[in-house]
Amino acid sequence: MAPSPDESAPAPDAAELESVAEDASGFRVSLSNFDGPFDLLLNLISKHEMDITEVSLSKVTNEFIAYLRELGSDEDLDETSEFLVVAATLLDMKVAGLLPQGELVDAESVALLEARDLLFARLLQYRAFKEVSVWFARSLQYEDRRHARAVRLDEKHRARTPELVWTLSAADFGTLALLAFAPKEIPTVGLDHLHAPLVSIREQAAIVVTLLRSAESVTFREIVAGAVEPGVVVARFLSVLELYRHAALSFEQLEPLGELTLRWSAEHWTDEMLATLGADYDR
């Protein structure tokens, strides 16, 4: 993967922004071409000609999130939420990529690795089926052109079939028709329970700030104590990162993988700053 330090970044980024901007107008129209989140991911990955296992995560994540915003609220909720699940996983992976290697090997990072592997496994699987569907299309198309003998039976032979035994009255027939016309609803299971509620980084940051200001020092473990939703834990960690960027806190970690102790160190902090916190994740 190309190194992404500052000096080489601007040029490709600019070019990219352009291409994305170009696509953006077309994308809204062609959104339906992407049949599901994996389709979109594959498309983004192939656009950058990247190997599926070495995806430049932040690039693809940013575009995926951008496209996700275009989905809008009028789309099928089920489908939109599938996109959200993938987006959340991508974000997790992006966050993991921002961290120094080997710093986190606790339950959370293991879960993150699992989520990443899962996403890759699903993508690979989806890609395999997508590829083989080309064979299906070709075979079906070829066979469509073939002509098999399917000729009605000769009257002579038809006459030799056993006489039909008919037992239905007209009323029976009507009942049968009711049965035949009853819509064959395929029972569906709602997907609603699969979708975690959206977590706001800003809201979580407010909690983190309150916790930090209320004590001399707080460990990250304490900050996420009681958080049941993985999304909340992720959001609180993201807000810690963001607050660090704003020099609002300092942290201390005596040994790798050791306890992460956080101290509030903001000199000029106003609660208004919360409003813009994590804005990067909106884009």
């Binding site: 002509h147 003998r149 399917a150 000729v151 009605r152 039976l153 000769d154 002579k156 032979h157 038809r158 030799r160 079939t161 056993p162 006489e163 039909l164 035994v165 008919w166 037992t167 239905l168 009255s169 007209a170 009323a171 027939f173 009507g174 009942t175 049968l176 028709a177 009711l178 049965l179 035949a180 016309f181 009853a182 819509p183 064959k184």
Partner: protein, 198 residues
Amino acid sequence: MTDETMTDDAVAVELPLTEKLEAILLIIDEPHSLVSLAAAVGAPVPAVRQAIESLVDEYDGRGQGPRRGFELREVGGGWRLYVREDYDDLVADFVGGQAPARLSQAALETLAVIAYKQPVTRSQVASIRAVNVDSVVRTLLGRGLITELFQDSETGAINYGTTDALLQNLGINSLDELPPISPLLDDGSEGFDERIAR
């Protein structure tokens, strides 16, 4: 072979007339006249006549190969493949074994759909029943319970309807005497057609 014979057109012309005729004969239901066959294979009638005669001979075992279990016969001014008469009993036994005396539930339900929705195409029936109905429709046709009404001029789809034989079986005089089921018919099928169309 000259260069010319290597072009697509030339190769197509090279294909034997007898084989072309056999291809057409394999898929036709009704006897076709020499003129009609000639038009189908794009050859002059005398050549088609000659080719047909040689096929008749070959199938009857007067050519190089063995006799076939089918024959090419001229009936009512047209040509068609028929099972060789020697095998009529064999075929009758086979057909008898294949066709049970009672209609299956699937066949009865398909018949009901056709009875209430006629004229109706196979794909319309298939979408209402949410299953493929091709073989069931053939069975019902074979039993004379339904018939081909007309072909849609635009789509070419065949529309089916029920026959008097069904009315007799049901002991009624006209379709009007079928028990009414209209309310459900409208609700159920409408929404469904929309869904399946996607």
